[in-house]
Each structure stands twice: as structure tokens, then as C-alpha cells.
């Protein structure tokens, strides 16, 4: 159901990006890249309020004709962006939310790896498998 999953570092460069139809990879790159604008905007809007208790889930960033882009920001300003096919109407906000939570947990596991160098591209196989499972979950 998710078409593209991306993890973006605090400094707005990708740590991990993966999409299903690989031939159209560049399009998703553009999409995720531009969505960062919205993420930034939302963070700066929220950040002033309550830093500690803010909602990590950003909700729908912006819809395009074919896809919907959702965002999620951890407390350390690592962003998760998920592109979902907009034809899939069955998908609820809650489901997206749980998917992000799963992604976050998996990311935390990656970070716990003592051999992982924060800031490097994520190459963990476990993380990869999890993303794959998220991509084919429905469909």
C-alpha cells in the first residue's frame, strides 16, 4: 500500500529511500523532496508550542492526483515520509499512524546497532524487510 518510504535525517538529507515501482524512482525522489517543505513548515509552526508533548504524526502533508504524502517527525527531528496511493481509500489515518509507529520502532532498532554510524545511509536488512512488509501489506 505504501508506494514509497523515506527516512530523512535532521539536516534534510535522505538516510533511506525506497519505492516500489523502481523505474519511476526519480518521481518519488522529487515528491519526497518537495514534501519536506511542508514538513519544515509544520515543525516550525508546532515547535513553538509544546516541544515535548507534540504529536509526532504530522498527518497528510499534501495530496497529489495519484498519491498522498504523509509525514512523521521524531523528537530528534528525523523525518519519515510515506507516499501512499490515493486510490486506496480504505486506508485510515489510524492505520497510517500505526505504520509510522512501526517504522519508528524499527528505526530505533537500527540506531541501537553499535556499528551503525549516525548520519550514514541505513543499510540494515531488518529495516529493509520491515519496509518491504509495509509496502506489500495490503494491495
Amino acid at each position: 500500500m505504501a508506494v514509497c518510504v523515506a527516512v530523512i535525517a535532521k539536516e534534510n538529507y535522505p538516510l533511506y529511500i525506497r519505492s516500489t515501482p523502481t523505474e519511476n524512482e526519480l518521481k518519488f525522489h522529487y515528491m519526497v523532496h518537495t514534501s519536506l517543505d511542508v514538513v519544515d513548515e509544520k515543525i516550525s509552526a508546532m515547535g513553538k508550542a509544546l516541544v515535548d508533548q507534540r504529536e509526532l504524526y504530522l498527518g497528510l502533508l499534501y495530496p497529489t492526483e495519484d498519491y498522498k504524502v504523509y509525514g512523521y517527525v521524531t523528537n530528534s527531528k528525523v523525518k519519515f515520509v510515506m507516499v501512499v496511493d490515493s486510490s486506496n481509500t480504505a486506508l485510515r489515518d489510524n492505520e497510517i499512524r500505526s505504520m509510522f509507529r512501526k517504522l519508528h520502532n524499527s528505526y530505533t532498532d537500527v540506531m541501537c546497532n553499535p556499528f551503525y554510524n549516525p548520519g550514514d545511509r541505513i543499510q540494515s536488512r531488518a529495516f529493509d524487510n520491515m519496509v518491504t512488509s509495509m509496502m506489500i501489506q495490503v494491495c
Binding site: 539536516e11 538529507y13 523532496h33 518537495t34 517543505d37 511542508v38 513548515e41 509544520k42 550514514d120
Partner: protein, 944 residues
């Protein structure tokens, strides 16, 4: 109609009235369900409110534009599309005929004015009404844009983005290409305004792509390029490679790559190959990690194509927009990992003539050691390397490089970048195999002046792109300092010898490196001349030369001078101008121990002749006795081979210190070493040595068992005696009659040294001196006729104390005189029967102490030549006086004599043996000192 009045009021600047009119028109139109007009009225209401709320706008010009933007479309709504389109095409052109917004500022507050939130709501409403009409797309777009601008002022970017998002979807048909571009540009501008840089970049890129869409007859590459350049900041891409040099690349590689590709393509179509080369090299340099193998190939291929037309340079390219493109050095093609400045080869390394020790130390600090200074010097050293380069000499820098590309990388024109000293860099071309490991590359150059040189970097030409890479900017590079002192020029010396070069290299224990090695094979005792040609191959005259030699420590004992030379002849040819050759001759003389191994000695000691050397009865045994017995050949072949054909090696290092030219005046010199490797094959061995006393007390016989260990026939000759021929592996005894040596006369020379040399050394020196003396007296030479080689042989090594004692002239010199004539050797003293014969025994003391008194008894006897000695001669010989003489104590260098007389009664051959009566006082004196000659007296008939 109300709406129209409102429009007119707004245009006339009557803000209050227009608001009232708009409100009324909205009310009216709502009931009529004319949505287009309703939308227009709402929009008009919004515009008026905006003008009211933000009288000055956000700034002079943008405010004016917004104002007109909001009035004119309202007007356009009446006239429908034509006018609206005009605005869209060229909004900037209409700025002049707008109304000055300042006029509306003085108008007071109005009840009918909308609150800021309401404005947005009304805009939304208006847009939703517009969207009901397909033809109203332009107006809808216009309204959206206006709403965004308002929101931008209100800093509500989220909502603005929603409006913009909507605007994107507004379907506009029949738009010309130019309009499309315009539309995208405006969109990107608006995104920029609300702080969505990435989105803005995206649309700018789309606009750029529109410029060159295939449907357009005349693609505007220049505009496209310009727009693309503007997108760069949005993709956080900087065209300065320095921003990429630190650490790993962080960014949207795929997107950025795409953009760079487009830039390259656009600049190429623009007809500016230099620009495209620059962009392409930038792409290659920064995105190398993200390119796939195929892409790498493609990119380099196209880069090579471009550079064939226009080579890449290091000058920054200035763009019309005021942007300058900094040069892109290829620091990753190839990647340099390690830079090391190499010292000159050992033979060319300059040395400083040692000045007063510690002088530089004392100038720095009054302390002998201070940790602070040591620390400072350590830091200083981290930059500066502690060796020197020489002006005019080729200096080397080693780089460890590797090629990250999946194909062979050709690097041309690779050279060094230096500062501080004029440096002539000699570029190198190299070809690195695909994905090579670390690959050493040596860059060379010649410093032309003196001073301190700093190696800053290197320059390369890869794929036709020149790049200057500075070491400071390279990530992950290891250098061990890059500053070196260049000293004035020195001459260079090349040596060639008459001997073949050797593959042997001397042991590194010698400390200094040896540039050339020569080897020679010699027989023991042989000597050879080594002619060394000294050629000055440098540019400076050679003024000074010193030669020293060092024999590497061997177990072998070496006799005589191994190497000897005369430097004067060579020095006479100095100064040696460049290109000139001088010759220098060295004599090599190998003289190892000629004694042989212990086991052989034992094997041969079957002879029965004692070495103990008490005078044997018969003095006639000095005949050369051939000894071709089987004995010495008996030992098994293997052990024999091990014993005799054992080749010994001698190694020596000749050091040539030379200097000249300006470097000489600065106190530098160079050191050239020549390794000499001599294989010494054994020639002859003296397997045994012994002495026999000769008939005279002044002489003795030295018996030598000579063994030929070569595989050739060999002749041995001495100074006095005849030639002895020895076949291979043969052993013969030769006897040499020698005068006894008076060692006492010369060994006193090292006496002064004795003060500081211990007795053992002193003894050693004396022995050596004696050996030398014996050697020169004997003059034993060997010759191998078949090989035409000859040499000396020396007995020095095998003379033991006992033999030496026998060879030595006793310090007590006894002379026996018969009838006043000195009677010695085999000389027969004749006398007449019946006449008394005077016998005088004289003692000369040359020993350092006094000896005596002694008692001597003369014992006459007859030798029957058959081993029987007849001592019973009482009837035939009578003594006049006593047969026993007494000698007084003799002082050092004193003389004493005693006289007696004999009377021979019968004719015959008589021998007089003078027997020495041992005294307790003279016990400590060696018995050989009391070796008195026997006297042979022949008593003859009285001549009648």
C-alpha cells in the same frame, strides 16, 4: 450593477464606497445564483479589505503589484477572459498605470471591512464558485494567486500551500508554451514567497523544461539554463566543489544528479562547451559515489567528447547572472591517499659538515634540556621534514593513489604544485588499472633555487580536464610533512669500476646504504688492482674528495692492508669539471690465515719431528723430504671439501666524500659508497710448521708443510730456495734456511704506546710485527701457471710462540774462537797436532738484565758418522789448563770472555761440545739462549 459600481469605486480609490457596494452586490447575487458574478463580487470585497488591512503592502513595489493584481482581474471578470489573460502574460507591464496605494491609507475605518480570516474564507468561496465554470479557470487561478499573496503576508504558509496546490490543478486549456512557462515560474515564485524552497525549485525546473519542450520550435536553452541555475539552492546544491570536499556527501543524490545532467545538457545546447565541461566535471567529482558503473562510463565518455573541443581549465567561469563557477579539481580521479616526500638516494644525500657540537642548542636555550623546547620542536617538525633536497637535482614525491573507476584511468601530465622555491616539475603520465588498490606514483621535479620548498598539491589532466588539487583540501589524506629545505647545488659523482657489478648486497649492519657493489674472486694471498673511474655527472665542479674505507667485521683474521690507495694522484686531477673523468686506483690484497684447520694439523702430526725444537743431533736433516704420502688425502672427500674449498668472503665499504660548487661553500658534502665484495678462495695452506736448528747458531731451518688446496698445479717459491711444484691436493714439506731474527731491535717502537695499551695488546702488536718481519724475509710466493695467477703466502698466522722463540736470535750471543778465528757453522778449524789450540768463548749479553756467572765445560768427542759418539778421548786430547771455564756476571750489553787451550795429540776430526753447567740462578732463562755452537776441529799432521 452594484458590483460594477464597486469596481469603479475601488478604481477611483473610494475604498469605503466600494466595500459597501461589494457587500450589496454579494447579497444580491447570492439570491440570483449567478456564481460567476458572485465570485467576482466576493473577490472584489476581499481586494478592498486587503487594501484596507495592508495599506502599504509588504513593500512598495510588491504592494503596488498586489493592488493592481486585485483590481484588474475584477475588471477582467466583467470583460471575461481576454483581459485576464493579458494580465497573466505580463503582470509586470501593467505596474505603471496603477493607483497609488498611499491615497487609500488616509481613509478611516469601515464597518463593512472584512477581518483577515474572513478574507481567506471569502477567497475560498469565490474560488469554489469560479471552479464551477470551466472557462473561468484563469480567473480562478488569479484568485488563488491573490489569496496566496495575502496569506504570505499573514505568514500562514500552510494554507497558502493549499491554495497553491489547488492552483496547480486548475485546468487551463489552450495555453501557449510561453504562458505555461510563465505559469510555472509564477508558481515557483509564490512557493518561494511562502518559504517552500524545494517546491519552488521543483516548479522552476518544470518551467525550465517547458522552455525546451520538444513542441516548441525554437527552444530557449539560455532561459532554460538560467532557470535551472535558479533551482540549485532549492536542491541545496552548490556549484563550489569545496562544499563537497568534507566528509561524505549528504543530499538528494538522485535528484541532484538529474539536475546536473540537465545543466550539462542545457549548457551544451547553449553553445558553451566550457560551461558544460565544468558542470560535467563537477558532476563526476561530487557524485562519484552515487554513479553506477555504467553511468560513470557514460559520463566520462561524454566528458572526453566535450574536452576534445574545449579543454577543462582551472579558471573560474563567470556567468552573465553574476554567478561564477569555481574550478572543479578532480581530487577523486584518482584518489590520493598518502603523500610522502622522498629523501634523495643515499649516494646523493647531502651531509652537513659537522660544526661545533651543541652550538645551535646553546643559542636556543640556556638549558641543556627543556621539555618546553622539545615540545615546540616536535610541532615544528610535524610540518618540516628533516632532510634536504639539493638544487638542480631530481627530487621525488611519492603518492599512493587508487582508481575508483571501473575502467582504466589515464592520468596525464601529473605534476607537483609547490611554493617557496622555483621548481621545475616534470610531469608524469600514468595509467591506473580499473579499481586498483593503492598504487604508488612518484612525481619528480627539480628545484631551481634554494630555500624552503612546500609541496602544496599536484595537478593532473584526466579526461582532458586540468585540475589543480591542493593537499589541504583533500579529505582523508596522510602526509608526513610537506616542507623541505633546498640547499645549494652540489656536484654528482658516478663511479664505475673495472670489476663486475655484484648481486650481493652488503649486510645492512654497515649502517649506510651502498650505492654500487662490485665483487671479485681472489685466491688467498693474491692482490689485484681496482681501478675506479670517477665521473662528475653533475653540473658543478668537484673540488674535494675524501676516501675512507671500512672493512666489515669478519671472523677471519686479516693480515696486512686489505685496501690501500694513493689519493694524491687522483687529487691532482681536481677540480673535476662536469663531464670529466678521473681515475683512482685501489690495491686489494687478501691475506687471510694460511694455517689450516685443527683437524688437518692433527692428521699430519705423524711425522715424529717434534716441534719442541731441542737441537737435534744431526744438523744434516734439512733435506727437502718429499712427502707425497697418502695420508693427507685420506680423509673422506666430503669433509675435505668442507675444509679446503671453503670460500671466505671479505666485505668492505669505500666511502667517497665529495663536495664542490656552491654547496661546498655552504658546508655540505655528499657521500658515495662503494661496496666491495671479495670472495677469497684458499690457495695454499701451511699445515704444519716447525723449526730445526741449523749448524750455525745464527741460522735455523723453518720446515713448512705446504698443502695445495686449489684444483690446479701450483708452484711455491721462496726468496732463497728453489721452486716447489705441488699438484692439486698435494702436500709437501719444504725447508727454508733462515737467519735468525733479532726481534729485539724493533719491537721497542710500540713501547710508547704501552702506557695506555694493556699488555695483551702489546704482546699482540709485537707478534704481528714479528710476523711481518718474518714474512718479508721469507718472501714465499705461490703461482698457478695454468691460471697465470700468483700471490703471496704468509706464515704469520701459524707461528706459535715456540717456533718464534726458535727463530729468534738468543739475547746471549756466544762466540767461540779457535786460534782467534770465529768458529761457526760447518767451518772446520784446522790445527796442528801437538800445538796448543787457543779456545776463547765470548759472551755478549743483549738481554736487558745481567746474566751469569756461568760455568762452561768443553767436552771433546769424535763422531764416527754412524751414530756413535766417542767421548773417551782422554788419550788424544788434553787441556792446557782447565777444561772448565768460568764466566763472570755479564751486565746488559756487556761482554765477557774466557780463555782456555787445547792440545790435540793425534790427527783426526774432533768436535768440541761446550756444555753448560746449569746454575740455580739462571733457571728462568730459556734454554735456547744457551745454545752454543759446537766446534769442529780437524787436527792435522805437522807439516814437516
Amino acid at each position: 450593477m452594484r458590483k460594477h459600481v464597486g469596481d469603479l469605486c475601488l478604481q477611483a480609490g473610494m475604498l469605503q464606497d466600494s466595500l459597501v457596494h461589494y457587500h450589496m452586490s454579494v447579497e444580491l447575487l447570492r439570491s440570483v445564483n449567478d456564481f460567476l458574478w458572485l465570485g467576482a463580487a466576493l473577490e472584489g470585497l476581499c481586494s478592498a479589505s486587503v487594501i484596507y488591512h495592508y495599506p502599504g503592502g509588504t513593500g512598495g513595489k510588491s504592494g503596488a503589484r498586489r493592488f493592481q493584481g486585485s483590481t484588474l482581474p475584477a475588471e477582467a471578470a466583467n470583460r471575461h477572459r481576454p483581459g485576464a489573460q493579458e494580465v497573466l502574460i505580463d503582470p509586470g507591464a501593467l505596474t505603471t498605470n496603477g493607483i497609488n496605494p498611499d491615497t487609500s491609507t488616509e481613509i478611516g475605518r469601515a464597518k463593512n471591512c472584512l477581518s483577515p480570516e474572513d478574507i481567506i474564507d471569502k477567497y475560498k468561496e469565490a474560488i469554489s464558485y469560479y471552479s464551477k465554470y470551466k472557462n473561468a479557470g484563469v480567473i480562478e487561478l488569479e484568485a488563488c494567486i491573490k489569496a496566496v499573496r495575502v496569506l504570505a503576508i499573514q505568514k500562514r504558509s500552510m494554507e497558502a500551500s493549499e491554495f497553491l496546490q489547488n492552483a496547480v490543478y486548475i485546468n487551463l486549456r489552450q495555453l501557449s508554451e510561453e504562458e505555461k512557462i510563465q505559469r510555472y515560474s509564477i508558481l515557483s515564485e509564490l512557493y518561494e514567497l511562502i518559504g517552500f524552497h524545494r517546491k519552488s525549485a521543483f516548479f522552476k525546473r518544470v518551467a525550465a523544461m517547458q522552455c525546451v519542450a520538444p513542441s516548441i520550435a525554437e527552444p530557449g536553452w539560455r532561459a532554460c539554463y538560467k532557470l535551472l541555475l535558479e533551482t540549485l539552492p532549492g536542491y541545496s546544491l552548490s556549484l563550489d566543489p569545496k562544499d563537497f570536499s568534507r566528509g561524505t556527501h549528504r543530499g538528494w543524490a538522485a535528484v541532484q544528479m538529474r539536475l546536473l545532467h540537465e545543466l550539462v545538457y542545457a549548457s551544451r545546447r547553449m553553445g558553451n562547451p566550457a560551461l558544460s565541461v565544468r558542470h560535467l566535471s563537477f558532476l563526476l567529482q561530487t557524485m562519484l559515489d552515487f554513479l553506477s558503473d555504467q553511468e560513470k562510463k557514460d559520463v566520462t565518455q561524454s566528458l572526453e567528447n566535450y574536452t576534445s573541443k574545449c579543454p577543462g581549465t582551472m579558471e573560474p567561469i563567470a556567468l552573465p547572472g553574476g554567478l561564477t563557477l569555481p574550478p572543479v579539481p578532480f581530487t577523486k580521479l584518482p584518489i590520493v591517499r598518502h603523500v610522502k616526500l622522498l629523501n634523495l638516494p643515499a649516494s646523493l644525500r647531502p651531509h652537513k659538515v659537522k660544526s661545533l657540537l651543541g652550538q645551535n642548542m646553546s643559542t636556543k636555550s640556556p638549558f641543556i634540556y627543556s621539555p618546553i623546547i622539545a615540545h615546540n620542536r616536535g610541532e615544528e617538525r610535524s610540518k618540516k621534514i628533516d632532510f634536504q633536497w639539493v638544487q638542480g637535482d631530481v627530487c621525488e614525491v611519492q603518492l599512493m593513489v587508487y582508481n575508483p573507476m571501473p575502467f582504466e584511468l589515464r592520468v596525464e601530465n601529473m605534476g607537483l604544485l609547490t611554493s617557496g622555491v622555483e621548481f621545475e616539475s616534470l610531469p608524469a603520465a600514468l595509467s591506473l588499472p580499473a579499481e586498483s588498490g593503492l598504487y604508488p606514483v612518484t612525481l619528480v621535479g627539480v628545484p631551481q633555487t634554494t630555500g624552503t620548498i612546500t609541496v602544496n598539491g599536484y595537478h593532473t589532466t584526466v579526461f582532458g580536464v586540468f585540475s589543480d588539487c591542493l593537499l589541504d583540501n583533500l579529505p582523508g589524506i596522510k602526509t608526513s610533512g610537506s616542507t623541505v629545505e633546498v640547499i645549494p647545488a652540489l656536484p654528482r659523482l658516478q663511479i664505475s669500476t673495472s670489476l663486475p657489478r655484484s648481486a650481493h648486497s652488503l649486510q645492512p649492519s654497515s649502517g649506510d646504504e651502498v650505492s654500487t657493489n662490485v665483487s671479485v674472486q681472489l685466491y688467498n694471498g693474491e692482490s689485484q688492482q681496482l681501478i675506479i673511474k670517477l665521473e662528475n655527472i653533475g653540473m658543478e665542479p668537484l673540488e674535494k674528495l675524501e676516501v675512507t674505507s671500512k672493512v666489515l667485521t669478519t671472523k677471519e683474521k686479516l693480515y696486512g692492508d686489505f685496501l690501500s690507495w694513493k689519493l694524491e694522484e687522483t687529487l691532482a686531477q681536481f677540480p673535476l669539471l662536469p663531464g670529466k673523468v678521473a681515475t683512482f686506483t685501489i690495491n686489494i690484497k687478501v691475506k687471510l690465515d694460511f694455517s689450516c684447520q685443527e683437524n688437518l694439523l692433527q692428521d699430519l702430526s705423524d711425522d715424529g719431528i717434534s716441534v719442541s725444537g731441542f737441537p737435534l743431533s744431526s744438523p744434516f736433516r734439512q733435506v727437502v723430504r718429499p712427502r707425497v704420502e697418502g695420508k693427507p688425502v685420506n680423509p673422506p672427500e666430503s669433509s675435505k671439501a668442507g675444509d679446503y674449498s671453503h670460500v671466505k668472503t671479505l666485505e668492505a665499504v669505500l666511502n667517497f666524500k665529495y663536495s664542490g660548487g656552491p654547496g661546498h661553500t655552504e658546508g655540505y658534502y655528499r657521500n658515495l659508497s662503494l661496496g666491495l665484495h671479495v670472495e677469497v678462495e684458499p690457495s695454499v695452506f701451511f699445515t704444519r710448521v716447525s723449526t730445526l736448528p741449523a749448524s750455525s747458531t745464527r741460522q735455523c731451518h723453518l720446515l713448512l708443510d705446504v698443502f695445495n688446496s686449489t684444483e690446479h698445479e701450483l708452484t711455491v717459491s721462496t726468496r732463497s730456495s728453489e721452486v716447489l711444484i705441488l699438484h692439486a691436493g698435494e702436500c709437501q714439506r719444504m725447508a727454508i734456511q733462515v737467519d735468525k731474527f733479532n726481534f729485539e731491535s724493533f719491537p721497542e717502537s710500540p713501547g710508547e704506546k704501552g702506557q695506555f695499551a694493556n699488555p695483551k695488546q702489546l704482546e699482540e702488536e709485537r707478534r704481528e710485527a714479528r710476523g711481518l718481519e718474518i714474512h718479508s724475509k721469507l718472501g714465499i710466493h705461490w703461482r698457478i701457471p695454468s691460471l697465470k695467477r700468483s700471490g703471496e703466502a704468509s706464515v704469520e698466522g701459524l707461528l706459535n710462540q715456540l717456533v718464534l722463540e726458535h727463530l729468534q736470535l738468543a739475547p746471549l750471543q756466544w762466540d767461540v774462537l779457535v786460534d782467534g778465528q770465529l768458529c761457526d757453522r760447518e767451518a772446520v778449524a784446522a790445527c796442528q797436532v801437538g800445538d796448543p789450540v787457543r779456545l776463547e768463548v765470548r759472551l755478549t749479553n743483549q738481554s736487558p738484565r745481567s746474566v751469569g756467572p756461568f760455568a762452561l765445560t768443553v767436552v771433546p768427542f769424535q763422531d764416527h758418522q754412524n751414530g756413535v759418539h766417542n767421548y773417551d778421548l782422554r788419550d788424544t786430547v788434553s787441556f792446557v789448563g782447565s777444561s772448565t771455564f768460568y764466566l763472570d756476571a755479564v751486565q746488559p750489553s756487556g761482554q765477557s770472555a774466557c780463555l782456555g787451550a787445547l792440545l790435540f795429540l793425534y790427527t783426526g776430526d774432533f768436535f768440541l761440545h761446550i756444555r753448560f753447567h746449569e746454575d740455580s740462578t739462571s733457571k728462568e732463562l730459556p734454554p735456547s739462549w744457551f745454545c752454543l755452537p759446537s766446534v769442529h776441529v780437524r787436527a792435522l799432521e805437522v807439516q814437516a
